[in-house]
Symmetry: D4
Subunit: 248 residues, 8 copies
Amino acid sequence: MKQLRLVYSYYGWRARIGLLVPSVNVVMEPELNLMAPEGVSIHSSRLVISGPSSCESYAIMSAQAGEAASRLRLIDPTVMLFGCTSCSFIENEKEIRKKIEDETGVPVITTSGAVIRALKHLNVHSVAVATPYVNFVNEEEKNWLEAEGFTVADLQGLELGKDEYDRKLIGRQPAEIAYGLGSRVARSDPDCVFISCTNFATAPIIDALEADLGIPVITSNQASLWAALRTAGLKLSIEGYGSLLRTS
Amino acid sequence: MKQLRLVYSYYGWRARIGLLVPSVNVVMEPELNLMAPEGVSIHSSRLVISGPSSCESYAIMSAQAGEAASRLRLIDPTVMLFGCTSCSFIENEKEIRKKIEDETGVPVITTSGAVIRALKHLNVHSVAVATPYVNFVNEEEKNWLEAEGFTVADLQGLELGKDEYDRKLIGRQPAEIAYGLGSRVARSDPDCVFISCTNFATAPIIDALEADLGIPVITSNQASLWAALRTAGLKLSIEGYGSLLRTS
Amino acid sequence: MKQLRLVYSYYGWRARIGLLVPSVNVVMEPELNLMAPEGVSIHSSRLVISGPSSCESYAIMSAQAGEAASRLRLIDPTVMLFGCTSCSFIENEKEIRKKIEDETGVPVITTSGAVIRALKHLNVHSVAVATPYVNFVNEEEKNWLEAEGFTVADLQGLELGKDEYDRKLIGRQPAEIAYGLGSRVARSDPDCVFISCTNFATAPIIDALEADLGIPVITSNQASLWAALRTAGLKLSIEGYGSLLRTS
Amino acid sequence: MKQLRLVYSYYGWRARIGLLVPSVNVVMEPELNLMAPEGVSIHSSRLVISGPSSCESYAIMSAQAGEAASRLRLIDPTVMLFGCTSCSFIENEKEIRKKIEDETGVPVITTSGAVIRALKHLNVHSVAVATPYVNFVNEEEKNWLEAEGFTVADLQGLELGKDEYDRKLIGRQPAEIAYGLGSRVARSDPDCVFISCTNFATAPIIDALEADLGIPVITSNQASLWAALRTAGLKLSIEGYGSLLRTS
Amino acid sequence: MKQLRLVYSYYGWRARIGLLVPSVNVVMEPELNLMAPEGVSIHSSRLVISGPSSCESYAIMSAQAGEAASRLRLIDPTVMLFGCTSCSFIENEKEIRKKIEDETGVPVITTSGAVIRALKHLNVHSVAVATPYVNFVNEEEKNWLEAEGFTVADLQGLELGKDEYDRKLIGRQPAEIAYGLGSRVARSDPDCVFISCTNFATAPIIDALEADLGIPVITSNQASLWAALRTAGLKLSIEGYGSLLRTS
Amino acid sequence: MKQLRLVYSYYGWRARIGLLVPSVNVVMEPELNLMAPEGVSIHSSRLVISGPSSCESYAIMSAQAGEAASRLRLIDPTVMLFGCTSCSFIENEKEIRKKIEDETGVPVITTSGAVIRALKHLNVHSVAVATPYVNFVNEEEKNWLEAEGFTVADLQGLELGKDEYDRKLIGRQPAEIAYGLGSRVARSDPDCVFISCTNFATAPIIDALEADLGIPVITSNQASLWAALRTAGLKLSIEGYGSLLRTS
Amino acid sequence: MKQLRLVYSYYGWRARIGLLVPSVNVVMEPELNLMAPEGVSIHSSRLVISGPSSCESYAIMSAQAGEAASRLRLIDPTVMLFGCTSCSFIENEKEIRKKIEDETGVPVITTSGAVIRALKHLNVHSVAVATPYVNFVNEEEKNWLEAEGFTVADLQGLELGKDEYDRKLIGRQPAEIAYGLGSRVARSDPDCVFISCTNFATAPIIDALEADLGIPVITSNQASLWAALRTAGLKLSIEGYGSLLRTS
Amino acid sequence: MKQLRLVYSYYGWRARIGLLVPSVNVVMEPELNLMAPEGVSIHSSRLVISGPSSCESYAIMSAQAGEAASRLRLIDPTVMLFGCTSCSFIENEKEIRKKIEDETGVPVITTSGAVIRALKHLNVHSVAVATPYVNFVNEEEKNWLEAEGFTVADLQGLELGKDEYDRKLIGRQPAEIAYGLGSRVARSDPDCVFISCTNFATAPIIDALEADLGIPVITSNQASLWAALRTAGLKLSIEGYGSLLRTS
């Protein structure tokens, strides 16, 4: 039963999530800690990202997935989570997962994969998307969602990320800005609102936005946690962060 | 006022702590998140450590301080924290801090430095020490504390760390084991009990141990947070984790 | 995205309600603040009213609607609310709304319009009405409700408003007086009780009155808030102030 | 005892505060409602302000004081409050109070007067000031405080207000921005931090800022409420918004 | 509207219950106050009872109903309550009600009438009865319930009341004794347990007894309050004292 | 130990208070039940009072003290309380107590006696008095307090009681009216405010009035309970109803 | 009614459970006290067990059942509980019950009997079993469950109990170890997980494990309490320890 | 560190108390569980007692101390507690402790020893004693306390224990009876009240009795727990059960 001793840890007795997070991100670690249930612990390793958002910056980030994952091997993670939405829909998501699984030997989730899984779980056909991104990322996002079979009812972005200062600003928006942007795209009468980006604060406004709109709201961090818990075999319900975590 | 926009972030509006944590550690991230006040966010980067505890394993870890710190530069940390107790009393603590400061340009705390600062803040002369370490680390710890001018009333360890499996076990002990070990060393009638190791769970039993013994209890994670907050200029009082965080 | 920055404000991130309130009113501002959900802020501008209740006093008040509304333009209101029940069923409600919309360019609600919308939302046919008004206003109220297609099962009033002192007294009644008056008119076995007047305190007794009578209770301030939130696109449920706000 | 009936109102049985607030302000009404104790109600009338901050804009605003106050006469206010900090230190504060008192016959407070009274109450000699203002207003503020006998240890502003859009932005900052600005000016080692402007959100961060700095924090809205309550004869203590409201 | 002013009182704004209570009773006033909802006040007048329980003692008590009721006329009761179970099933219940109504002009409830109404409301056919009474009262109780059309599955009593000391002991039993007695009679597999006597403490154990038995539990004080509230026109639900008050 | 069984009752295990209350009173029973600590029960018997307030009405009431008390003998009261302020300072207080003690054999408190004891307990020299009474009662009250050695700084009354309807109105005032009247008489700068009359609601505003004025506030019902508990030997502290009950 | 007096006790007014517990057990008494509802008290008598787990050690324990039970006769137990799972499936369960019933005259439950009853109550066909036992006990357990008609989907044990020290270790595992073991055996896709052994801590993780797995979880102590309460005639629902105690 | 594993158990990680309790006792186990802090577990073994209270019954009980203690050896108790007040002051307390220590090798407390230690800790000179005992036990108790150097201001007993039924009645009294008896003996103006007997419920009324009397109240179970915790080295403060547990 030696193995069992390592399954258990005082804070992560239900699951330990190994998180790969972009170096600029100041939102995902606090939001996962806020939303995670008792007995689930979050442990992170950083992927270097620098300069303005570009194809190149994403390629550099995805290239680090294996090495960053190796730094989490010793925590005996229950599941690994690649926590960048845009990188995982611009770069090859399958390859990213492969690199991480090779290093850790446990199931791997990416944020973009989690979002698709969540949209399908909620039977969404038409989705309105709110993002903080610059335009080329927004276009990629639209293509990706349509390729996955969804109708994009609307997609608007804050257009932040042209330079390094500007990109940092994404992580400095109050969550209520995401509420405002989410409300705005919801006028397109979608089945669901999706607020994209793990560095865009949303956790405390998801319930309010769902109550006000009357439709489900998915966000990058919420969907990532949901998929990670499901992958770890946990079917529990979590209050306070939207219907996705509450009802599944 | 462009600069001010970057001081603020939704979860880290009081301070963002950049944390360097050993790759095997499963306790420090959850404990800092548990104890941190509203508005303080924790962001981590990992230092690879592998194999049994040895002089070499510590040297390898300290050598990574600069690169690991560079992965946290873009969060604009308020303060950096090197979160390994034994590495920072075995290796050259000053050099570790230098490497990290060179990369980030902000004040740097190490756990060993935080503990010394905390012991002095509480006017401790004689300290009893509880550790999970193997013996050679325990001896180094005794030497270090005596070199800093403290009397070590007693020092006992769980003697975990001989191989990789064994070292992982440190992070798998319930916090109540730390209570039992702390009670035991307190029979030496010290001014204070210090429970060493950032991978040894202690946060939920600190208050109980203080109430039962009638003397202050310092632990690696609690002292690290305390010193990080003070260095960030925050004088607030935190309830629930011992007199160090409550009264200073 | 410059526009989005103005949608957000720290207290009014869901909606900012621009309120036009009679100068004598001491109840509507506290009641709206009491009932409003987090993220909805109330900002008011006053309409001068003086002397006893009369046709003339109402005409003077409605004439000020445009100017008073202009004083709220700069808050970028989500919705405007004309908060006088009797003025908006005695004077031309459509014209009042027009004047305000011309100044602010956003949707406009009047209390009388809100009440009609609420009665229809609850499928009410027969309504019993409790008012603090003098008789000529009571008669106008009965005509108005009948003209809108409702049966008035009973209508009783406190008969306050003959002179200025007397009119002020409306705003000085404890809410429990409204409970007593509401109970009394409910003996006529209506579908619903409507307690009229935005200067007549009712918020804390609505739930009790509904529980005791077993039918919905509508009041001027509750219906005004309900309609304003709906017009702002918010479908949330609010606890504590009757079934109208709870279930819709 | 006819008079006593008018002293009482259901929500304002302790005091009714008549508030004059600039038309652009979206913060003062919610903050006063948030901080006010049970039995104190807030009723407002707006002063038109438009265009960029300038000497002229302030003169226009102060000229409206009497008429705006007259719209609050019928609520029988316990005390009147002129709620614009900069207007009341740039324009003649005594004359503003005179106009309002002439219309209402009750005691009058201005925000600038309230701040001076609060600083003296806390025995402050040296004050550090955080503002959202453009520079010419900041200079006027420094002169005013020095003329009142205080040392201004530091004064920094967000420099918002150059045009109408920019001025609106003051009311759209999250309160945590005020925390960051307050922390920064506090490095000058003052007796007290004063965060100026009734349209700058601060209420939820005052306690945190005091705890972190270890000195009192005064803000325009907090000081205005404090002075209004004292003037109304209420000596009660209010928790949650700094030592000024708690201890006096 | 002069009349309305007397309907309202600060504590009894929903209803004022005029209570006639035997002089020896130490349970009914505290239990009614415990169970009554906000806005319902209890006001009592005593009926002299002395010596052992006997036909004569009951006759003396019922003879006082009119005079005792007259002492409650000035409170403008919403409903009158004759609060002795056994007296109201041994003596002529209709006459008792008549005397009280003649004095007060408002609807009158007796405890025995309330119990019958409650049993019918819950569709009870077979009832098990727990009492503190001496045997002759128990026999009368059985006859009464059977005459009303119920099957008495079992009836057991504490047999207290042989002399004045003994009768006082009824009012000195802990409520948990009523639980034990109620459990015992429930072995007869009835539809409902009825615990008789307004001087027998039961309120805090009703919910537990219902949960443990799985059938409704009626007690004299609970049924009296229920019938009084219904007679006063209040249909509200009360938590904590059994299904009768909760669901009707 | 037979005696001990009667000391105990389920709701009155600390003390049972036998209360004599004027028939018109709708406030004293709910207020005593509100303020009484766990284990203290209130049991009442009514004194008939009718018509307008007059010397004769008081004489009739005091004459009933003995008989009304006899109706409470069987509850084995711990202490008896004669609950009419004005009757006990207009009529002979000593004789009233004598009659009641003769019937019950236990210690007796009157409201007027309780007030004097409370004023002395708080070292009051100068008292401001708020009453709902007509003038002849107010004059008697002033004489009584001065005869007891106190300075009456101010005394104002609502002047209710000229006829039976008017007297009932005393019991129909919201407690906040007492706050307003108490604030007003406090302008005379007394050591203490006393709000007289057991039928005048005050309990929920005592703490607020003390906080706002900064001096103790005594009311008839609060002082009656305080004296009854002290006479029963209970030294406990009660929160929420002023310093008299809290600190003694 | 003398008998009734003995049914009641202050802490055990609903039921008193007489518990026979192995001398080494450190978990069952705290867990029963934790889960038991108000009014149910636990009283224990110990069965000596020593040395490693063996057929002989179980025979010695079962032989003591009668004498140990006799030490609980005077508490007038409502129900007796033989609290060792393995002893009651290895030894003759019927005989154990007989011995205890002969001494006490009240209904007797054994843990193994309780588990079978619980499995049937939940309509379980296939069960996965987690134990702390050595292998020979695990085999006996499998045989027993299959003999009772259940499919054992999986059965894994911690294999503790080879010597006395090792057996004590069962009682020293954190409850989260039981969670981990329960999760593991649940991969066999059973109807239900059963965690065996009254000395194996489980109470605080039952709800979490059920939420995560989506199937019922039965544990030895939970099922023992459930069966004891049902046998005592209590049908109440208990929150916090799994669906068995909640819904039955 | 093998030993440390046995110090820890999930419920008894601070201390495990081994309790010897008379077989008739139905109060001590629930009261210790009620008052014990988190992490302290209670494990009991019973001493047979039968028939009426007599010298012989006590001798039989004390003779069993060793064997009963041996049944608790395997829990590795932190401290042993002999839980019968009268037996430990009538029989030789030193010998009882010797027998238990010989079997378990850990420190031993008796209730009588705990009471003496508590009285001295509180600096008591004169004590009033309330007991449920028959007279010969009361006399022994008085002699014992005087021999220990205390003045017995008063001593009264319920005189229960003449036969077995009567003795069981001690354990069936509500705690409020102890309040009444404690109040009565307190009239002798002692320094402290001591309520004797571990089978006499007192825990929930200790705080109330202290508040009402203004002096400390010691009871057998409270003092036993206090002494056991102190002997186990725990200095913590416990709320809710008198000043002894709160302040020491």
